[in-house]
Chain length 287, copies 2
């Protein structure tokens, strides 16, 4: 089965879960939030659902945890697209939120999506202490020591005189993209009170492979397929994994990281085939 | 004792609590966050601390809950001040975050302050189920059904053809300002597992009085004392409590609401004098 055919039903169920938190008669704010969060690949949601299945977390609760991280991811995209940040007009093949509405609505919809993530995650019907750990973990990984820090450093890099070193890019990406991927992939053992070690190792390699693949897509991707503006980094003269390793070197590095990610799953045997497929997808995707 | 002399030590201890979550060697993002959240009256923090004292919540935990709501309040001010929102240059007598740094830093600092609120609140050393309820409550009151909704409606009102009715303004303010004030004033009984009824009634009246007082300040306040731009509503031709009630009528309404708020505290006797002083302060403050 094509991996995207595997993502689709999970994405649909996560969207249906998110819809439950909206009014039947939504206003502009809720319209903009739904526009931003519904649809999309929902790769992070898939990681949550697979990780939860490996550790016996009930599917319904897994869907809520998946919905929560997708709210965080969606809010970060809405804010990243703002004119004062990446200034993008297109996302997932549609006008960005500030283009479809206006900047104020985009700021507020992003803000409210972040809040909604914690409403949804806080409501998991699992032991309170584990849910609380998941809340603290998500807030930490999303905030000033994780995703937002990575984003701030990424923006700072654009106006810096010297291109970032490979170590600096790796650290930045571990924050910007890696932190949420780690939270998603380790959600199952975290919520079950099990050892997160193997999935943490998987997520570390996967997160880096994901970002290298993003840099490759930015270089050689097709805007019609990605549904977003490309060649931004090269145009901005920014250091990326591709500028450091070269295109072929970056591709080889991404393949090696995926092999490493999949090796980390050996303790799970064939049960982790979904996560293996996700890792393979990350470096072969065209969007 | 002057009420502001009573706020100061609480504000200082809340600031010290927040500082614990920052690195000793902060970067630009953390500098901007600290600039936004430290200082200020910290009235919401005072409500949390007093409410917790009434219900036996340990002071150290009360300070953390107070720190959390001040992070939410500070993030909302940073985003509200953005050019695409209220476009303000001055806040608490200092340049706003996007003036002191830039818009991208203001968006990100606000985003990370919201995350930090949930890191801090999630870490309360109290029974997990109660902490989790507090997290869900704060996320709900801050988000699309509370503060952010009120803000979105407030912005929509500025470009509407017809001024808002009194009922619409009252509902909007219950979301924009009232929701967080209610969370703050009921934090004690919520975290202790006690009845929130009396403090919820206090907070409902106080929140409305607070907003009427804000409208009065916007009309007759002194910018040197408030440390922010005034007369914005009148300049924008916006409906306010003052435009509906007239200045004297608004002042009388605010006084009557404060009396109502204080009546709701009768079950606590003299122990609630701090909250009574807070209510009296709200309608007599000059900033």
């Amino acid at each position: 089965m094509n991996f995207e055919d595997r993502l689709k039903p999970v994405a649909d169920e996560v969207d249906a879960t998110i819809e439950l938190y909206f009014d039947k008669d939504p206003d502009t704010l809720e319209d903009a939030m739904r526009y931003a969060v519904l649809g999309g690949k929902k790769l992070r949601a898939f990681l949550v659902v697979e990780s939860c299945a490996l550790h016996g977390v009930p599917y319904k609760e897994a869907l809520k945890a998946a919905a929560a991280i997708e709210c965080i991811h969606a809010y970060s995209l809405v804010h990243d697209d703002l004119p004062c940040m990446d200034d993008d007009d297109v996302r997932r093949g549609k006008p960005t939120v500030h283009r479809a509405w206006d900047e104020a609505t985009a700021v507020l919809a992003g803000d409210a999506l972040q809040s909604l993530a914690f409403v949804i995650l806080g409501g998991l019907d699992l032991p309170s202490d584990r849910v609380l750990s998941a809340v603290i973990g998500l807030a930490t990984d999303a905030g000033k020591d994780g995703m937002v820090l990575g984003q701030a450093r990424d923006i700072a890099a654009e106006s810096a005189n010297d291109p970032l070193s490979l170590d600096a890019i790796t650290a930045l990406q571990a924050q910007k993209t890696g932190a949420l991927i780690k939270w998603a992939a380790t959600a199952g053992p975290s919520l079950a009170g099990d050892d997160i070690g193997p999935l943490e190792a998987y997520a570390g390699a996967l997160g880096l492979a994901f970002q290298i693949a993003d840099d490759i897509l930015d270089e050689i991707g097709d805007e019609a397929k990605t549904g977003k503006r490309l060649h931004k980094d090269a145009d901005a003269g920014k250091a990326t994994f591709v500028s450091h390793f070269g295109l072929k070197g970056a591709q080889a590095k991404a393949r090696s990281l995926v092999a490493q990610a999949n090796d980390a799953l050996c303790v799970y045997g064939a049960q982790a085939d979904g996560l293996r497929a996700a890792a393979n997808f990350v470096i072969s995707r065209e969007h």
